[in-house]
Symmetry: D3
Subunit: 67 residues, 6 copies
């Protein structure tokens, strides 16, 4: 532990995934938790599978891009 | 909040996803929760990744379709 | 399937939990999915375990109550 | 990996939790995956937080006990 | 219940998925829980979406294969 | 989005929860994602519910404390 599940719209770049993994691991390392104990899984799902305020993100956030 | 994760067999149509997002958001709206606070993610996984009663859904529910 | 995980602040009343379960089940029933196939789990976690915009919900939404 | 999240009604005995952890780890060990790579979390939630067929498990399965 | 979510690197073979589903279901059957009550979902995500010790599994475990 | 679920042993202090929430939110802010879009839930489960290498964390990591 900790186990961290991150849910984002696809398609984050490989560089962005790397930053998420490094950044979140550091948050725990800075609290004295060994980095090797931190396991992270990034789940990227298409925008049409996301609902915010009752609308699909593919409609509501059509223009918004991911890093 | 609330955050809702919905797990279904793939491939639900876009129309079905829309109905899930609208319908579940309304459940919370009817309880006085602002729609904008409701975030929903639909995860659709292939039938062979699902087990029910010890069998893969791809075998056990071969004939059953999704909306 | 479907499996639905609902994450909310505690403490929703028993009546509110009932409404969530009935309401979400109906969303799928209305799409032709048998009610008995719908399994829902409500996870209620204390507000200090929730972060929105980098702040704990216990601080940011101190006044907001749950149904 | 693998990471396994198990959701059950509370309150499973400590002995039952031990059996779940040993049993699931063995499933992966038998497939050639090192036991140390298997991380399991058991989440036990009260029956009134579970819905099956649109009803709370606390009502529908009142008589059913957990190991 | 129980509901079991299994997270693994892709691509496990269909035979491996079958073994996971049968094996985990048996763990619960051996505790007196009816097999039909056990629902399992296997989520397989690409190695670059996994972080262990702050590194992507695609880099750290490049040589390691899945069953 | 993003939605982040963090699973840890209980009982992390309130200060530690705050650091997790601030730290993870900053990881995404630094990538250009608005902080208000980041929702984090910390799930803290007792050590006897965690299995690592086939053993309960309550036995295997008896001496290890949380921040």
């Amino acid at each position: 532990m900790p186990i961290v599940h991150v849910y984002v719209w696809n398609d984050f770049s490989n560089d962005a995934k790397k930053k998420i993994i490094e950044g979140i691991t550091n948050v725990f390392k800075n609290m004295g938790i060994p980095a090797d104990a931190v396991e992270i899984v990034i789940h990227d799902d298409p925008k049409e599978n996301w609902g915010i305020g009752g609308e699909q993100a593919s409609a509501k956030f059509k223009e918004r891009n991911v890093p």
